[in-house]
């Protein structure tokens, strides 16, 4: 009798759980679905779609995106974004890995001071530095240059070294000691031992430092004033309600690589997000 009652309440519990789950997943999925369907809408303006679902479907949105480049040169935006993202990913990864490895592996006088100062620096609102960078760039005539974006992104990258440091912290110090006793110097150790061991974190760092400029809008919006210098994020911001299908198609096109990337990396995600919880 009692067991029976338990199982009924359990059943109710299971049903309620699933109902909530389905509702939550619907909430997360629906806007994405809406955007995907809208990108295939035949009419370009949001007023003509009427409701969430387009009346007729076509590939016009995507076709126009790449052919009708008079006003909105999407291929060019894409090229700029790719250039900035690849450049910052390459340079930024080198900077972050060097920083994280060094801070994790070596004990030196100014180590604690460095870690504390990055903490204090991160307390300043990001705009503060950016306004100054903007003013400096304007005064030195470095505005409208894609490589200046790469420089800023990769120079700021070492500030987010904590995830990578956490990874290097897990590599036991004893293998380094053994190598030192065998007479290897620190450069050899870094090249022959650390780099091969840190492949996963290298991949993770390269991809996250690619994803950041790929989807950032603040810095390009600030520093790229010429229309043919825009990145995708800046370009999409300038599309109004009448260009809604173009916006949806352009968004889906740029979001798909990132989404695939995140799913491929999902085992790193939890680790990455919770790294802040790891005490130093």
């Amino acid at each position: 009798m009692k067991k029976n009652k338990m199982s009924t309440s359990k059943k109710i519990d299971t049903v309620v759980t699933y109902v909530i789950l389905i509702a939550v997943c619907f909430i997360f999925f629906f806007p994405v679905l809406w955007l995907i369907l809208s990108s295939f809408s035949k009419s370009g303006s949001i007023y003509d779609i009427g409701g969430f679902f387009p009346k007729s479907y076509s590939f016009d949105g995507y076709h126009k995106l790449f052919t009708d480049t008079e006003m909105y040169n999407y291929p060019n935006w894409l090229k700029n974004t790719l250039f900035v993202a690849v450049g910052s990913s390459f340079l930024g990864t080198i900077m972050v890995i060097l920083t994280a490895y060094t801070i994790s592996r070596f004990e030196f006088k100014s180590r604690k001071m460095l870690m504390k100062s990055t903490l204090v620096l991160s307390m300043f609102p990001s705009f503060m530095g950016m306004t100054a960078v903007y003013l400096m760039m304007v005064n030195f005539g470095l505005i409208n240059k894609l490589w200046s974006l790469i420089l800023i992104y990769s120079a700021g990258a070492p500030m987010g070294y904590l995830v990578q440091k956490g990874y290097f912290d897990t590599i036991s110090g004893s293998i380094y000691e053994a190598a030192r006793i065998d007479g290897a110097n620190n450069i050899t150790i870094f090249r022959k031992m650390t780099l091969p061991l840190s492949k996963p974190i290298l991949v993770y760092t390269a991809l996250t430092s690619f994803a950041w400029p790929w989807s950032d809008f603040i810095l390009p919006n600030l520093l790229l004033k010429k229309k043919d210098m825009w990145t995708v994020a800046v370009g999409l911001m300038h599309l109004g309600e009448t260009e809604f299908t173009r916006f949806a198609a352009g968004s889906i096109f740029i979001a798909v690589p990132i989404v695939i990337l995140y799913f491929a990396l999902s085992r790193f995600l939890i680790q990455g997000v919770s790294s802040g919880a790891v005490k130093q």
């Binding site: 705009f127 530095g129 700021g156 916006f247 989404v259 799913f263 995600l269 919880a277």
Partner: protein
């Protein structure tokens, strides 16, 4: 104390040390030459000469320019080129940094000559250059490896921040931009923010809403994520990877796309208004200038949509580290599910996530994207270049980027910095994570 000790040390060196050391203390590199360290001696002398040359040609002028911020105003009619105060500020800042770098090198130079002296006195051979480079690359690997990252952070993070701190004490902005001359006004900008009626009202209204926003959105995102993680952690849920994919999808879509899409969704032509009008209602300006609370609620929900997946991932990671024994023991003792959550799960999760909670709170406090995209660029009556949903960071953007009020903007950023750093310090020191590190170990 430390500085004082060092000062005594320098005095000591100057008065009681050998001639080469004294020489090096006065002119970099000369001591090294006396000890026949030709290469390093010439290098140091070269640096010294370059420094003297720099100071004479522009360094001193730059520092004077930094103090006066220009004396000659440009006049196109009289063809006077005038001083550019911003360039003078930047050059002055550069001059100070060069002087600091020089002083550091100078100390290194004295240390170097002392080290050589020690070697000579004990009759040891002084290592050659080749050996020295090897030594630096190996034993000081950390310094070599960190040189580039630190230089990058210095140039693109530290100098800009110092520059803004400097600007916050000037009247730069508004009508006063080059070619007009800028002046130092001390704490003038801060006084304006705290006393000039319109700016003061705007500041305190925005600050109030900003605090409400940060608390509400952090609360919503944090417990939303925790709830979702607990839901997915339940034993009765099959196919966890499948269910988890949906929040991760939301997490993976770039934020600006999400925000723009939601803006379209609630726009006049958007689907929500379409259904309202086709049901016979009037189109609602959800994000209009007079939207008031509607826009705020939409902002909270959209932010939750974007941020809950992150906190879900975080909570999942932490819950997987939890010890199941505790629950079993609690079940045997007859504790209800709710009590288990309240007494075991919650304290543990909060303990483990306090640092993240702080960063999330600050992230929300400075959340620029949400209201910039949903309803950026609106200026309301009763506000100075802001609207009722704007956070301090949005106001900062309106002030300094859109309207060139650099001085006031810089002062606002410093105030934000002070608020966030005091908050994090206080919360961290009072948190369980700091007070009892070992409770859950």
């Amino acid at each position: 104390m430390n500085v004082k000790e060092k000062m005594i040390n320098i005095k000591d060196i100057l008065l009681h040390s050998s001639l080469p050391v004294r020489l090096s203390t006065c002119i970099m590199g000369t001591g090294q030459l006396v000890y026949r360290q030709w290469l390093s001696g010439i290098l140091y002398i070269g640096i010294f000469a370059a420094m003297v040359y720099y100071l004479i040609t522009s360094g001193v002028n730059d520092i004077i320019g930094f103090i006066t911020l220009g004396t000659v105003e440009a006049d196109p009619w009289l063809r006077i080129k005038g001083d550019d105060s911003v360039i003078m500020m930047l050059r002055g800042l550069l001059a100070f940094l060069i002087i600091i770098a020089f002083l550091i090198l100078h100390v290194a130079n004295i240390k170097h000559v002392l080290a050589i002296e020690k070697l000579v006195k004990s009759g040891k051979k002084i290592p050659g250059l080749r050996k020295k480079i090897d030594y630096v690359l190996d034993k000081k690997f950390y310094a070599v490896a960190l040189a580039l990252p630190i230089a990058g952070v210095l140039v693109f993070n530290v100098i800009p921040i110092i520059f803004m701190i400097i600007i916050s004490f000037t009247n730069y902005g508004g009508d006063i931009v080059p070619p007009k001359l800028i002046d130092w006004i001390g704490f003038g900008n801060f006084k304006k923010i705290l006393s000039l009626t319109k700016i003061k009202d705007t500041f305190f209204r925005i600050l109030g809403w900003n605090v409400v926003w940060a608390v509400a959105s952090t609360f919503l995102n944090y417990f939303g994520g925790l709830g979702l993680a607990l839901l997915l952690n339940k034993k009765c849920v099959k196919g966890k990877a499948f269910w988890r994919a949906f929040p991760i999808l939301a997490y993976a879509v770039p934020g600006f796309i999400t925000l723009l899409a939601f803006k379209f969704m609630f726009s006049y032509g958007g689907p929500v208004n379409y259904y309202i009008t086709s049901l016979g209602g009037d189109a609602v300006g959800f994000l209009d200038i007079d939207a008031g609370i509607k826009a705020k609620i939409i902002g909270l929900c959209v932010n939750a949509w974007i941020s809950i997946p992150t906190s879900m991932l975080l909570a999942t990671g932490i819950l997987s580290n939890m010890n199941d024994d505790l629950y079993e023991a609690a079940s045997i003792d007859g504790a209800t599910k709710w009590k288990q959550f309240y007494k075991i799960t919650l304290p543990f999760v909060i303990f483990a996530t306090t640092p993240v909670l702080i960063t999330t709170f600050i992230g929300n406090f400075n959340n620029f994207g949400v209201f910039y995209f949903l309803r950026g660029g609106l200026y309301m009556d009763g506000y100075f270049l802001a609207s009722d949903t704007d956070l301090l960071i949005n106001w900062l953007y309106n002030l300094s980027i859109d309207n060139n009020y650099y001085g006031i903007g810089a002062a606002v950023s410093l105030i934000i910095f002070i608020i966030t750093s005091i908050f994090s310090l206080v919360v961290y020191i009072n948190s369980a994570a700091y007070k009892k590190e070992d409770t859950f170990r």
